[in-house]
Amino acid sequence: MSNEVGEPLWEVFIRSRRGLSHNHVGSLHAPDAQMALRNARDVFTRRMEGISIWVIPSAEITASSPDERDPFFEPAADKAYRHPTFYDIPKEVRQL
């Protein structure tokens, strides 16, 4: 995956503030990792969106296939007992 000038594609992850995890925000083209970081800074952090950036070559991501959707995800559909919905939450616990 490269653009018209042959630059590979990068996935961009940004941490919006300390304590939160990096979230995927989009992708962009760049000739190498250092330029990808700078492009990400220019494209995705113009409005103070982040304090840390990760870039990862898109080609390095291994993705699940739509064909595998049923064996991968369907079996979880009827396992309601996996959700922690059967616990009584004490009033004193404001955030869980």
Binding site: V5, H29, A30, P31, D32, M35, R41, D42, V43
Partner: protein
């Protein structure tokens, strides 16, 4: 009309304001035309940083020269001979290599200038400079990254970078000129000393060029005049485009 005595420091801040405005306009010309979408955003980000610096400096200039002019008066209602930017920033964008080289040469100069002015005895100028240091540090990093990749890249990118360097190098000598007014402002601690700037600039630019396998041009041609309002041919065309809307529709607003 002038009720406040003009401070010669106003002429000094005006030079830097015009540098920022003109380079900002040149970079904005890349909008929608850059080699990639990402670069389009990067160049216009830099343009907007410079426009912000220009606005702050025009405001300070108006206080110093006692004319009470607004930003728009400086940008849109002065004639070509009244602009005192250096010749380097008005040079046409050319190919991407030319834009990168122009940015490397100028951002290095500007970063050293803002660093020095962060300690200016004019506290307003010092505050503007301190804020600008962070912005220009990034502009220089951007230009440096591209200089290294294109200079030490393919045969074609190297050829274009070297050609751009030879075209623009002569315009760098003007950056370090001085005159009686500047000397006096340096003595007052208001202005940055051009001689010291040249030393710092050389120490920063040369290693980058060397690593990028580029050779500084050897030329004795040292074009000058920008600081006295004498500009190169391309300047009038840029100014006409920049001022056209404001002059055709005075007071037009978005």
């Amino acid at each position: 009309m002038n009720t406040v005595a003009a401070d010669p420091a106003g002429a000094y801040t005006l030079r830097h304001a015009d540098d920022c405005l003109m380079l900002s306009h040149r970079l904005a010309e890349w909008s929608s035309r850059a080699p990639t979408l990402e670069e389009d955003v990067a160049l216009t980000n830099i343009a907007l940083d410079l426009l912000g610096q220009a606005r702050a400096l025009y405001t300070r200039t108006a206080e110093l020269d006692g004319t009470g002019r607004g930003e728009d008066d400086y940008a849109f209602l002065r004639e070509e001979r009244e602009f005192v930017n250096c010749l380097l920033v008005e040079q046409e964008n050319g190919d991407f290599a030319t834009t990168v080289v122009r940015q490397l040469l100028f951002s290095t100069y500007q970063l050293e200038t803002w660093k020095a002015l962060s300690a200016s005895t004019d506290t307003t100028v010092a505050a503007i400079a301190a804020k600008a240091v962070k912005e220009v540090t990034y502009h220089l990093d951007h230009a440096t990254q591209w200089t290294l990749r294109l200079g030490d890249g393919t045969a074609e990118s190297h050829r274009r970078m070297q050609a751009a360097l030879e075209r623009l190098w002569p315009y760098t000598s003007e950056l370090f000129e001085t005159d009686a007014a500047t000397d006096e402002l340096v003595a007052r601690g208001v202005a940055a000393d051009p001689a010291l700037l040249r030393i710092a600039w050389t120490a920063c630019v040369e290693p980058v060029l060397r690593e990028a396998t580029l050779e500084p041009a050897s030329t004795s041609w040292t074009p000058t005049g920008g600081r006295r309002g004498l500009h190169t041919e391309c300047f009038g065309y840029m100014l006409a485009e920049m001022q056209h809307l404001h002059r055709s529709h005075p007071g037009a607003r978005w």
